[in-house]
Amino acid sequence: YAQTRIALVVKSLGNGFFDAANKGAQEAAAELGDVEVIYTGPTAATAEAQIEVINSLIAQQVDAIAISANDPDALVPALQKAMERGIKVISWDSGVAPEGRQLHLNPSETALIGETIIKLAADYLPEGGDVAILSASSTATNQNAWIEAAKAALPEKFANINLVAVVYGDDDSVKSTDEAKGLIASYPDLKAIIAPTTVGVVAAAQVVTDQNLIGKVNVTGLALPSEFKQFVDNGASQAVALWNPIDLGYAAVMLANDLVEGGEAAPGATLSMGRMGELTLDDTNSGAMAAPFTFDKSNIEEFSKIY
């Protein structure tokens, strides 16, 4: 066995976003040497299933757990147990309540993401108009935080944009499809669907394509270039944004390793993210990695080959 074992626990296996994060995590392991990354997670994105995974990681006495959580609260007791047994716990991407982890790595600043997703829609709506949000599950911490931030940004910065609804597709393609259709049927004047989730954004773009609404309804949000390229190509979407999941996985492992090596997680502390620079923690012990990156016709081809 390698000397340091770090578990990268994701919301659910098979998700392209997390597979990309794993790529970065392995890269970090190789860079550090003597670190083994255990990539694991449940198949269904539920808290109970994630707890079973955590329990088996505790039993394996891993050195650190870096988790993207399905539920911010339900995982707390299990993760606290892990910390009691001397395991370092950080959350990344989708966070855990502060008492359940030592630090949280935001892919980007929440306020910035919230603003960006609205801006992606607003940029192509000079006259303003109705937009709706198609989110992941109603319990997803990160999505909820972004939506709050988006709502906060609306009145001052995007006065002519009217947010008519927030619906939840549960990161399930069928539910997301149904909800997207419901939005289009209910709001005839809808100009854009914003889906800050990689599953929802694909479903919404497919619905817009199927219903011949390209040019009428713009789909935008957070998307993986490799999964979403065709919808930028066919015009269902003008542009989407995302951070680089490879970098995110890389940074999570680097941070976890720093803690294992004795790094201290406290407000104001700075921890190493390897090639991604340093992370400075705020008073909830969380920090942001980088700004979201926008993909449009000009660059998506290139990035779709990477992730």
Binding site: S12, L13, G14, V167, V174, E179, K181, S186, V199
Partner: protein, 325 residues
């Protein structure tokens, strides 16, 4: 009038009409032909699956593995398409039907030759099939970018004003109607549900007929595997998770008796459409999506209660004055 109410199908059609009227009252665009056709198209896969399930339930069995079968076949076909985009779609569809039927046959063999109760068999294969999806795919999804344009486009092509997917459902319904009412196999499915012992005496091989029922439901699930992944342009382990109970619910609402022997193609179609209308109507009339589950649960319970009322026999008729004629 009395005779009219006896027919569950008419009752159900009225209920669907009622929902349509209520929703349209609040939201006129809902009842536009275009939207109704969309609902029909959205419900097509459920209709097909429910018909397959009906074949099984008629024989006093149950197939809990249909959704998992769908996910497995869908994943296989999506991976095939991703790896060999040149393979013609009809061939892929034939492959789906064969694989689905094969998985169904596995259920059927266990029920037929080993006499294990169907609910146990399919509870087991439900988890096995879904696990296999993970094993063959390594957990990775197959997404839109990996699928060929034909693969995605076929069911969306419009033919005589209807998407091809709708035509699939219509064709399946016709085939089922003919098989169920006009062929010895169809009648045998009913017969062994009504009275298994009598069926043996009539020369029906009960075990083999159940086997055929599972092959039928498997084949339908397999075909729907292709339709599902190309419709939602994603193949993953979670595809149609938990959908097995929705399929059964559509059958039950459509008047298929869980005790076997009773059920009609028209009823099942209406049962599926009822669920489809409810699911479509709720977001439209601005009822919070969180009410959806409770409402469909209530609909199922009401349907069961109403069906049972119709079925209930009030004792044997002995007194002359109690006779209907």
């Amino acid at each position: 009038m009395n005779r009219l109410l006896k027919h569950r199908e008419i009752f159900l059609a009225l209920a669907i009409l009622l929902v349509l009227v209520l929703v349209t009252a609040r939201f006129p665009r809902f009842a536009q032909p275009g939207n109704l056709l969309t609902i029909f198209n959205d419900t097509s896969i459920l209709m097909m699956l429910a018909l397959g399930q009906m074949a099984v339930i008629l024989t006093r069995s149950i197939d809990l593995s249909m959704a998992a079968n769908l996910a497995l076949t869908g994943m296989i076909v999506a991976m095939t398409n991703a790896a060999f985009p040149g393979v013609p779609i009809p061939l892929l569809m034939a492959m789906c039907v064969v694989i689905g039927a094969g998985l169904g046959a596995f259920n059927g063999i266990l029920v037929w030759k080993l006499n294990i109760p169907p609910i146990v068999v399919t509870l087991g294969t439900l988890t096995i099939f879904r696990g296999l999806v993970f094993v063959i795919s390594g957990g990775a999804w197959v997404n839109a970018a990996q699928m060929s344009a034909d693969f995605i486009g076929l069911q969306r092509a419009v033919f005589l004003g209807l998407p091809v997917l709708s035509w699939f459902a219509i064709a399946t319904a016709l085939v089922f109607w003919v098989v169920m009412t006009r062929t010895p196999l169809g009648r045998s499915l009913y017969a062994i549900g009504v009275n298994p012992t009598a069926s043996v005496y009539t020369g029906i091989n009960v075990g083999r007929t159940k086997f055929y029922a599972f092959v039928i439901s498997g084949a339908v699930a397999g075909l729907c595997g292709y339709l599902w992944v190309s419709r939602y342009v994603i193949a993953s382990v979670e595809v149609a998770g938990g959908y097995e109970l929705t399929i059964i619910a559509a059958c039950v609402i459509g008047g298929v008796s869980i005790a076997g022997g009773i059920g009609s193609v028209a009823g099942v179609l209406l049962g599926a459409i009822f669920l489809g209308v409810i699911n479509n109507a709720l977001p439209v009339i601005n009822i919070s999506p969180f009410w959806q589950m409770a409402i469909s649960g209530t609909a199922i319970l009401l349907a069961v209660v109403l069906n049972a009322r119709g079925e209930r026999r009030k004792g044997r008729i002995i007194l002359k004055k109690a006779e209907a004629t």
